[in-house]
């Protein structure tokens, strides 16, 4: 189990989180949802110490998350990456193998083979030699997923992987993530589109500067919790039809 304990995070004196506590199950796919500015990405980044915590700790099976650093693959939001960098699709995926290498070791035959396999899993082999700034949003997202795969991590932390991508990319990424969970990996995804929450996640955190609700998706994803996080009116729109199929935001 991943445990976040007494987490405080602040930006220039503004509190984003105050004494946040939550547990996330292992070997499942967990989603983090919440309105804009709720701190979804910040929670993910604070767990990885990319954003500084002012207080608190994150444990995996009782041990500090730092011990698992190289076993956690992080997929950033596309806007966080410098796309003008002179690097090809293949090279980007290859950098995913760096954490598996010792300090002086350069990627060898094994790492190159692994990177090619990861490219294939996401149907990117034809784009291997393409510059990353010449890709569509969906293709680029697949490159980042392939890079994360190349790290052979046990944990995947993804920041909005499905935002603004084409259907083919979405399906490919979904399939790859599904397979990872079947193989016992743990996935934590920041997600903004309430539409497919039930298809994608076994477990759900609903966040708005605090944990509004956390639990199995079946039990957690309901009008009451969504209204608590997004406000009264939004919840009405979302669940106004029978059943609870969400409406895209």
């Amino acid at each position: 189990m991943i445990e976040v304990k007494d987490l405080d995070v602040s930006y220039f004196g503004n509190n984003v989180f105050n004494n946040l506590n939550v547990s996330i199950p292992l070997h499942q796919s967990t989603g983090i949802i919440g309105p804009n500015g709720a701190g979804k990405s910040t929670l993910l980044k604070a767990m990885l110490s990319v954003v500084a915590k002012s207080h608190g700790e994150v444990l995996i099976d009782g041990e500090s998350i730092g011990k698992f650093q190289k076993k956690i693959a992080y997929v950033p939001q596309r806007s966080d990456v410098d796309l003008t960098f002179p690097i090809t699709v293949y090279e980007t995926v290859l950098t995913g193998t760096f954490p598996t290498l010792s300090f002086f070791k350069r990627p060898g035959e094994k790492e190159k083979q692994m990177s090619l396999e990861c490219l294939k899993k996401l149907s990117l082999e034809d784009l291997a030699d393409r510059q990353i700034d010449a890709l569509s949003g969906g293709q680029l997202q697949r490159v980042f997923i392939a890079r994360a795969l190349a790290q052979q991590a046990d944990f995947l932390f993804l920041d909005e992987p499905f935002a603004g991508i084409d259907m083919l990319s979405e399906r490919l990424i979904h399939e790859v993530l599904d397979e990872l969970v079947k193989n016992g990996k743990t996935i934590l995804t920041v997600h903004h589109d309430l539409n497919k929450v039930k298809n994608y996640f076994d477990y759900l955190l609903i966040v708005n500067k605090r944990i509004v609700s956390a639990g199995e998706t079946e039990k957690t994803f309901n009008i009451k919790n969504i209204q608590k996080a997004y406000g009264q009116q939004f919840g009405d729109v979302l669940f106004s039809k029978e059943g609870d199929h969400g409406v895209a935001v």
């Binding site: 220039f12 980044k45 990885l48 110490s49 990319v50 650093q69 190289k70 956690i72 693959a73 992080y74 950033p76 966080d80 990456v81 410098d82 960098f85 002179p86 690097i87 090809t88 090279e91 980007t92 950098t95 760096f98 954490p99 290498l101 002086f104 350069r106 510059q131 700034d133 010449a134 890709l135 569509s136 949003g137 969906g138 293709q139 932390f157 084409d166």
Partner: protein, 283 residues
């Protein structure tokens, strides 16, 4: 350094021309390697700031009679640290804090140089004189080139990932601050090596112009670094030859040749593609 004379004799050129050519080759390679990382990490302004900020260090070194490298490194890193501190601890933007630190360190340097009364000519430090470069300075530049090569090679993976995707680099457990300051350190020792040859004022041109030009032609980081070094050498050698033949200031000639190559690349290179259909996919 007898061999310098024999070589110069053999090619029937003045020794000062040979030393200038040697110096410009060494400088060109070093500037290409460092410049590539400076440009990709958006530190061009920082490069300008550091090259100016070493001035007090140069003066203090004269006063204490120590090698310029020590004083320059101290003040260079101090400036880098202060810029970082001001930016991180306030809402002041990086360019503003760079502006403040650059000019104050430079001003302090001017005062100290004047007070040092060491017979050092401020003009010489500001604008350099590659024709008057001594064999010892060439040796020092060469050692600095070797240091830069070794450090960049050993830490290549780290420099690569922290430049490309610093957030993911952090999650890999790479210390992005370490790489930043390591690069700043290399930048200050490079400035010392460039100082006597092209002068403080034009150091930034050596760093930024060849690297940016190479960037326009490259798809891979290593190609960019090699290309930038090559362009650095071409502008260096070209500048020296031009200044010998037409009696124009060498450092200015080097910088302008670099700028002309950039201008041509800007129009014709595939990345800018004024003459080539963009292959960009939108969506």
């Amino acid at each position: 350094m007898e061999w310098l004379f024999s070589v110069a004799d053999y090619f029937n050129m003045p020794v000062s021309m040979l030393t200038a050519l040697l110096a410009s080759v060494i400088l060109g390679i070093t500037s290409g390697i460092l410049g590539s990382f400076i440009v990709l990490r958006r530190l061009s302004l920082m490069g300008d700031a550091l090259s100016h900020a070493v001035l007090p260090g140069v003066a203090v070194s004269y006063m204490l009679g120590i090698n310029m490298l020590f004083g320059a490194t101290f003040f260079g890193l101090l400036a880098a640290g202060l810029i970082e501190f001001i930016t991180k601890k306030s809402k002041i933007k990086t360019d503003a804090s760079i502006g403040i630190i650059l000019s104050s360190f430079f001003a302090l340097g001017i005062i100290l140089i004047t007070k040092a009364e060491s017979g050092t000519d401020l003009n010489h430090i500001l604008f350099g004189n590659i024709l008057a470069v001594t064999p010892n300075e060439i040796l020092q530049s060469f050692i600095i080139l070797i240091i830069v090569l070794v450090i960049i090679t050993v830490f290549y993976k780290g420099f690569f990932v922290t430049s490309f995707d610093p957030v993911v680099a952090k999650t890999y457990g790479m210390n992005t601050n370490f790489y930043h300051y390591l690069l700043m350190f290399l930048l200050t020792i490079f400035t010392v090596s460039a100082l006597s040859q092209v002068g403080i004022v034009l150091v930034v041109a050596l760093l930024v112009t060849p690297a940016t030009t190479a960037y326009l032609w490259s798809k891979h980081l290593n190609h960019m670094i090699i290309g930038a070094s090559l362009l650095g050498v071409i502008s260096g050698v070209g500048g020296v030859l031009l200044s010998f033949n037409y009696n124009i200031p060498t450092s200015a000639a080097i910088v302008l040749i670099g700028a002309i190559i950039f201008g041509v690349s800007f129009v014709f290179s595939p990345k800018n593609g004024f003459f080539k259909q963009r292959k960009k996919v939108i969506g």
